[in-house]
């Protein structure tokens, strides 16, 4: 049966659509790269607020993180693209989609980095203030670098999750690789080959990304934990 089934596949459609798929793949990588920067930004600022002495900052960061990580990223994407125009904010699909993903993965990053900050030994904070560093200086040069190293494995999983979740922005018409596949399928009415190809693309990208993450972890491990 599986052999019979495989005989019904015809991958020539993939060869014919290679230029479109290639451009979609580039968009996927671009959204992922932009998303990583945004996610880290949200995560670092949010975690700083989450562990700060200011109650309003803590409350805001906690509410933000809990709300976004407990609601579906696909609904955030719909919200950014379809609901924001109702209040006069019109964003192109790629921008709305990337922004929504930054909020979702950023909320997860806040929790990861908060745990990382709490795992930094107390003596480090005390030593930093004994050196006369300001609060911001302490955070930037003493606490964050250590918290980041502790958080790296979990942050890596979040990066991989971001890469896979970029496929969701195809739902609002962004033509990253999943969207490209959907468009071709709508015309050619044959889908298995294209989804297998797109799946293979994500699989390779995830393997490469996790390889990079593992070697980064190994490199940073030299500085101790």
């Amino acid at each position: 049966m599986p052999l019979l089934a495989a005989a019904r596949l015809d991958f020539s459609i993939v060869r014919e659509s290679l230029p479109e798929l290639g451009s979609g793949a580039l968009w996927t990588l671009e959204v992922t790269a932009t998303g990583i920067v945004g996610m880290l930004l949200v995560g670092i600022v949010g975690a700083a607020m989450r562990t700060s002495n200011s109650a309003p900052a803590r409350g805001f960061a906690t509410a933000f993180a809990e709300f976004f990580r407990n609601t579906p990223p696909l609904v955030h994407i719909f919200f950014a693209y379809f609901a924001l125009p109702v209040v006069g904010i019109k964003l192109p699909a790629f921008v709305a989609g990337t922004l929504a993903l930054v909020f979702y993965q950023g909320a997860i990053a806040i929790e990861i980095l908060r745990a990382g900050i709490e795992a930094v030994p107390k003596g480090q904070f005390e030593a930093a203030s004994a050196l006369g560093l300001s609060g911001f200086e302490q955070f930037r040069s003493i606490v964050m670098p250590q918290a980041f190293r502790i958080s790296l494995p979990a942050l890596g999983n979040n990066l991989i999750s971001l890469l896979k979740n970029t496929s969701l922005i195809s739902a609002i018409g962004a033509i990253e690789i999943t969207g490209v596949a959907n468009d071709i399928i709508a015309i050619r009415l044959t889908s298995a080959e294209l989804y297998l190809t797109v799946g293979a693309f994500y699989l390779c990208s995830v393997f490469i990304l996790s390889g990079i993450l593992r070697s980064t972890e190994a490199r940073l491990a030299r500085y101790g934990t």
Binding site: M1, L4, A5, A6, R8, L9, E66, F67, R69, N70, T71, P72, P73, L74, V75, H76, F78, F79, F82, A83, P85, V86, V87, K164, N165, T166, S167, L168, S170, A171, T178, A181, N182, I185, T190, S191, A192, Y195, L196, V198, G199, Y202, L203, V206, F207
Partner: protein, 214 residues
């Protein structure tokens, strides 16, 4: 708030919510059952079985759930397997959940000190008995927090079913806004809160249990 909003919200809750719950719950069952079976298979340390389970886990965790769901619903009929919308969503979400659950179960089993199973064998228990009466009862407690995080992910991911036409919370919203685009804002906010009300207690419980186990 307009009467149109309230009547739309009523339909979203009455028709969409049960479907979201059904898809999520069925997928959780498949995920837990599949994860327990495959996780225990990993504990057998049989190289051939390990290779199969690792391949399954790596592939399912390496591709986006959306691509898997599209493949099950749009791609499989081409190969002779037809599934309606809801079963397709449950198959994709269940298989994806089972891959993640396998890693949870495997991690928990291997986190139980080997002295425990050695002591079991020393008592003359067989492999299966050591597993079911010594290792798994201890490992199960450690699985609970990560399983709850997985449940949250499954509820969130059940929204993807809307993209293959399953009439869940999100899909009913999409149907309701066809006549009135201004409903996007209040309806999406409403379902965000519904998802939050389902997921937040699970998250909270998971964090509490994790702290207590630590």
């Amino acid at each position: 708030m307009s009467p149109a909003y309230f009547s739309a919200l009523r339909d979203v809750i009455v028709h969409g919510l049960p479907v979201t719950v059904e898809v999520s719950f069925a997928s959780m069952l498949i995920a837990v059952a599949g994860g327990l079976i495959l996780g225990v298979v990993r504990a057998l340390r049989n190289p051939a079985l390990d290779a199969i389970v690792i391949a399954y886990v790596e592939v399912l965790r390496g591709i986006p759930l959306l691509v898997l769901m599209f493949f099950v619903f749009f791609g499989l009929p081409q190969l002779g397997f037809h599934f309606p919308e809801i079963p397709s969503a449950i198959i994709a979400l269940g298989l994806w959940g089972a891959a993640n659950a396998t890693e949870i179960v495997r991690g928990a089993i291997f986190s139980i000190a080997s002295g425990q199973s050695e002591a079991g064998s020393a008592l003359g228990l067989g492999w299966l008995q050591v597993m079911t009466s010594i290792v798994l009862p201890q490992a199960l407690r450690r699985m609970i927090p990560p399983f709850m995080s997985l449940f949250v992910a499954i509820v969130e991911s059940s929204s993807l079913a809307a993209l293959i036409g399953v009439r869940d919370l999100l899909e009913i919203v999409r149907i309701k806004v066809e006549n009135d685009a201004t409903l996007w804002l209040p309806l999406l906010i409403s379902i965000l809160f519904i998802y939050f009300l389902i997921n937040y207690p699970i998250s909270l419980l998971s964090q509490r249990l994790e702290k207590r186990l630590a």
